[in-house]
């Protein structure tokens, strides 16, 4: 068997795996869409503003509505305390006020 034929088999195998993953993504998308209907009710009914991703600091639990200066507010010159503060960007509107 020529080396290029072995490569062809390898590429076919990878295509098969990626095709299966593509089908999985379609299925997951469909499932998540049904969940989003419930999430939309929760957001509207409770007036929620943020996703529950990081719960350690208020400026990463509620980046949309918390104080943008919070990381440096504990005392003058206080440096960032929580790890997530280094990975999350400050929302644009926070710099206005």
């Amino acid at each position: 068997m020529r080396p290029s034929q072995i490569l062809l088999f390898l590429l076919l195998l990878l295509t098969l795996i990626d095709g299966t993953l593509f089908l999985h993504s379609r299925r997951l998308d469909k499932n998540l869409k049904s969940e989003r209907a419930l999430q939309a009710i929760t957001v509207a009914g409770l007036g929620l503003t943020d996703l529950c991703i990081a719960t350690e600091a208020r400026y990463t639990r509620h980046p949309a509505v918390s104080d943008s200066m919070a990381p440096f507010m504990d005392h003058p010159g206080a440096i960032e305390h929580f790890p997530t503060g280094s990975f999350w960007n400050v929302p644009e509107h926070k710099s206005k006020r």
Partner: protein, 397 residues
């Protein structure tokens, strides 16, 4: 019958594959490191894209205008008397007072989000019970009751128990009866949430009855949100007024490529790989130089030698790209982005599950391809060209 030009390329491809296999340890090593870098870049992009997409899809119904009182650069409680002032602005349909805040559970070192409002006044408020596995939302008159998120149930080890207690600021205990549990489908929003009625939240936080945390305003005509927000900002200059659009834009920014440390770490990994690839690929070994010399003596042209190197580099980098991207999808979709999750949640004790659809766009794939594969091709083909233009007898000697 294969055309002659194509047959030649197949032969060169066979030669390239044999050549790669001869130095399999070196080439497999480069390919694995390459795939790892692409995996990290791809995982980060797929995870942050998925979170951004989820936020965009889910946060469509956030409050239209949120009003917070500011003092000395911090948010503080807002007087209920402001509601009366706001009623004088024409176009405001409803103003909903909210009490919300954080409760730090010292025994579990976890932060809970406590939220209280009269949900019957909000859009979809009557349908809220659909989001619960069991029970109902606390009614205005139902004192000492709460609906909790799934992580709260786990961390307080409630199981079948329905009663739990939280400390007031003066360290006296306040008991709550669990009257509802949020379903798994809303984990992305409610995992750390305790919902109660306004009186209970004021009692828990020792907040005066004349104060609330913030106000949510809903307007009659959505096209007037910005105008009414400006009117509120003028009328109440000591407040911060956030509109629905600003809240929705938040998640377009917080996880961007510029989001601090993560991008620095990933770009450092990419640069480190570029240096490794340059070192491994550009410095042709004596054996490789002799091979090129012998091929030239046997009648191979410079173009043929470059084609061999091109095929070798293309195979290594493209396979690494496919493997890296495939592994990144599997990592985010099947393993909840286990490697990146600690970065996203920091020291949080409550870890909401990330059931997300990895976000893959053609633009992202092209960006990763351009940052990784193209520099590698350049780093390998150019030295081969320089070597193949040298007279063969000087290389062999």
């Amino acid at each position: 019958m294969i055309p002659k030009g194509l047959e030649k390329q197949f032969n060169i491809l066979d030669f390239s594959l044999s050549s790669l296999w001869r130095r399999k340890l070196k080439n497999l090593g480069i390919m694995l490191v390459f795939a790892l870098v692409i995996f990290l870049l791809g995982s980060f992009q797929m995870l942050t894209g998925a979170l951004t997409n989820s936020a965009e899809a889910v946060l469509k119904n956030t409050p239209e205008i949120t009003i917070q009182k500011m003092s000395a650069g911090r948010q503080e409680a807002i007087p209920l008397a402001y509601v009366e002032k706001l009623h004088s602005i024409y176009g405001i349909r409803a103003i909903i007072p909210r009490v919300w805040g954080y409760y730090f559970d010292e025994s579990n070192l976890a932060n809970y989000t406590v939220l209280a409002l009269d949900s019957d006044l909000l859009p979809n408020g009557s349908e809220l019970n659909l989001t619960l596995v069991f029970g109902h939302f606390p009614k205005r008159t139902e004192s000492g009751t709460a609906v909790i998120g799934r992580s709260i149930q786990d961390i307080l080890e409630l199981q079948e128990r329905r009663v739990f207690s939280l400390f007031r600021p003066d360290l006296t205990l306040k008991s709550f009866n669990v009257v509802g549990l949020f379903s798994r489908q809303t984990d992305l929003l409610t995992n750390d949430l305790i919902v109660m009625n306004l009186d209970d939240a004021r009692d828990l936080f020792a907040m005066p009855t004349s104060m609330v945390t913030d106000l949510c305003a809903y307007v009659a005509n959505p096209a007037e949100i910005e105008t009414i927000a400006k009117k509120i900002a003028v009328m109440l200059p000591d407040t911060r007024v956030l509109t629905k659009t600003q809240i929705q834009k938040t998640y377009q920014v917080v996880f961007s490529w510029r989001s601090g440390f993560a991008s620095i770490c990933l770009l450092t990994a990419l640069i480190a790989f570029a240096i490794l690839a340059w070192d491994k690929a550009s410095g042709l070994s004596l054996e490789e130089k002799r091979e090129i010399g012998i091929l030239k003596i046997l009648g191979w042209e410079t173009g043929d030698i470059m084609a061999v190197r091109f095929w070798e580099s293309t195979l290594v980098s493209s396979l690494a790209f496919i493997l890296g991207c495939t592994a990144a999808y599997i990592h985010v979709a099947f393993f909840d982005a286990t490697l990146l999750k600690p970065v996203m949640v920091g020291w949080s004790v409550i870890h909401p599950p990330f059931k997300l659809l990895p976000a893959i766009t053609l633009g992202d794939l092209m960006l990763i391809f351009t940052l990784s594969v193209l520099p590698y091709l350049a780093a390998t083909v150019i030295p081969a060209w320089r070597c193949s233009t040298v007279p063969p007898d000087s290389v062999i000697r």
